[in-house]
Amino acid sequence: MQKVFARPQSMLETTSHFCPGCHHGTVHRLLCEAIDHYGIRENTVGVPGVGCGVFLYDYIDIDVCEAPHGRAPAVATGMKRVAPENFIFTYQGDGDLGAIGFSEVVHTANRGENITVIFVNNSVYGMTGGQMAPTTLLGQRTTTSPRGRDLRNDGYPLRMTEMLAALEGVVFAARVSLHTAAHVKKARKAVMKAFHTQLEGTGFSFIEFISACPTNWNLSSQESVNRIEKEIIPYYKTGIFKEKDGGG
């Protein structure tokens, strides 16, 4: 019999702590596939921020350094400058990257730091119990926007990929989703391109993953997938926003 689907080599065999329907696990898998594809497990270092993704080391068989909340791009900068030959990526949520760590990601991107930033946008603060994030959609109810995100009080949901794509230092920027097999396929391609960008040494690469958080959205897994299709993608358009010559 032919084996058509297997656990990537760099993925540890363990039970997941993620909630049912959460997409963090899918992102992990795509990263492992790319690590295996390029054969870089032995010179890769992951830098998770603080959030549900902090347990990266429980799932991926690589060196990992925890960073303070929001500071992963600065930590990755220090690492990459010491060892430019290593493959360095950060793994950050939307609170981590879009709120407390906004300055670090913008300046790291603007320096054209040759690292890859993996950004998981689930439109809430997952780990702390579902509070409003900078990416929370208008009208979306969270534990700190009980009547829904209010434009006058909370401002607009932040589009990080579009903002970063505008910076000269950014070589590759894409937003992908994981709610259908077709989207996962596109996401896989984008991850490969982002990895390739860093391996070529051309500069900063960035991928935003639209991701479900059924637990904090108070929805089932299927309802969450529907929500991504109907409410999230119309505001957070998927696609490649930047692909400079020489990158990707």
């Binding site: 830098v47 060196d63 925890e66 930590v75 220090g78 400058r81 300046h107």
Partner: protein, 354 residues
């Protein structure tokens, strides 16, 4: 002749530090300005970060990758670094932070002050940890103690701090550049990629039952070892001294002058200078305060080191404080007149600020 900040920077290079991350703030700009030119000459990297928060986290990353690296700043910037310092101590990462202090709180002033003593010696950020804190009092020591700070920081896998001020940063003195052979210890814990070994993790998060308590006792044991083995103190005490002066950093230079003047007047005096502020020379001060019976602490704050002095004193020893918390420098004449007043008053002067 070298300027203090330049001597410190050369000390870092002599120690094998090749990475500097920092954000401008007076009165320490001479360090980044010098290193931005110097580091590339020796194959190093200089990054002007977007904030002190970014600086300390770049330092964290460079250290996790196994390199000797540093940052420098002053009061407000050091405050912003406290979260990163706490993570570094919790993750057992070495690294050097230089604080060329200003007067606080708030934006304060840029003149010399020793008001960051508590922040430096108590850990400063959240949690149960300490920094290794060294306080030079000469340009030679700006060089020597920087080398020492890297050594101790690697030895204990804990961030170290040089606590100095604008006087030490700006003044010029002759320096012997000893250039010891750089011995950067092997760092098997560094994250270099899981090649030929198991994957490694650098972290400070421990959620398992009892893990955090065990971790904190482990850190505590390192601080105890530091106290036992690596406390540095300068001692200059006359036989049968009647008063013991205690001071650190730039301020101790004034005290040394005052001690010289006192001796030329025939007084019997002693002088103790903590060189490491953490670990603090508690044992030395306890012993000397027993012998001498009266101490005068002189510092440029409202009495922060005095806390540690009083924790060390032999019971019954009389303790007084001469404090200048606003940028003013206690002059040798002022110190001498305090000394004489205390000695004349004998047992009649109560403890306290004089």
């Amino acid at each position: 002749m070298l300027q203090g900040c330049v001597a410190l920077a050369e000390g870092a290079i002599a120690a094998g530090c090749r990475y500097y991350f920092g954000y401008p703030i007076t009165p320490q700009n001479d360090i980044p300005e010098y290193l931005s030119g110097r580091l590339p000459q020796v194959g190093g990297v200089f990054i002007q970060a977007e904030s002190e928060i970014a600086s300390i986290n770049m330092l964290l990353g460079a250290s996790a990758a196994g390199a000797r690296a540093m940052t420098s700043s002053s009061g407000p910037g050091i405050s912003l670094m406290q979260e990163g310092l706490s993570y570094m101590a919790g993750s057992e990462l070495p690294g050097l932070v230089v604080n060329i202090t200003r007067i606080g709180p708030g934006l304060g002033g840029i003149a010399s002050s020793q008001g960051d003593y508590w922040q430096a010696t108590r850990g400063g950020g959240h949690g149960d940890y300490r920094l290794i804190v060294l306080a030079p009092n000469s340009v030679q020591e700006m060089y020597d103690l920087t080398i020492k700070a890297f050594y101790l920081s690697d030895k204990y896998r804990n961030p170290a701090m040089i606590l100095a001020d604008a006087i030490l940063g700006q003044m010029k003195e002759p320096v012997r550049l000893k250039k010891p052979p750089v011995e950067i210890p092997h760092k098997p814990w560094a994250l270099t990629g899981a090649s030929g070994r198991k994957a490694q993790i650098i972290k400070s998060l421990y959620l398992g039952d009892g893990e955090m308590e065990e971790h904190n006792w482990h850190l505590y044991e390192k601080y105890e070892q530091l106290q036992r083995r690596d406390t540095l103190v300068e001692i200059d005490v006359d036989d049968n001294a009647d008063i013991l002066l205690i001071s650190f950093g730039s301020c101790s230079r004034m005290v040394q002058s005052a001690v010289g003047m006192a001796r030329s007047r025939g007084l019997k005096v002693g002088f103790v200078r903590p060189i490491t502020l953490f670990p603090f020379p508690h044992d030395t001060i306890r012993e000397l305060s027993r012998e001498v019976g009266r101490v005068l602490t002189v510092e440029m704050n409202t009495g922060q080191m005095w806390d540690d002095v009083r924790l060390s004193l032999h019971p019954g020893c009389r303790a007084s404080l001469l404090a200048r918390p606003g940028g003013g420098i206690p002059s040798p004449a002022q110190i001498l007149s305090k000394m004489e007043k205390l000695l004349k008053a004998g047992d009649k002067v109560a403890e306290g600020i004089c």
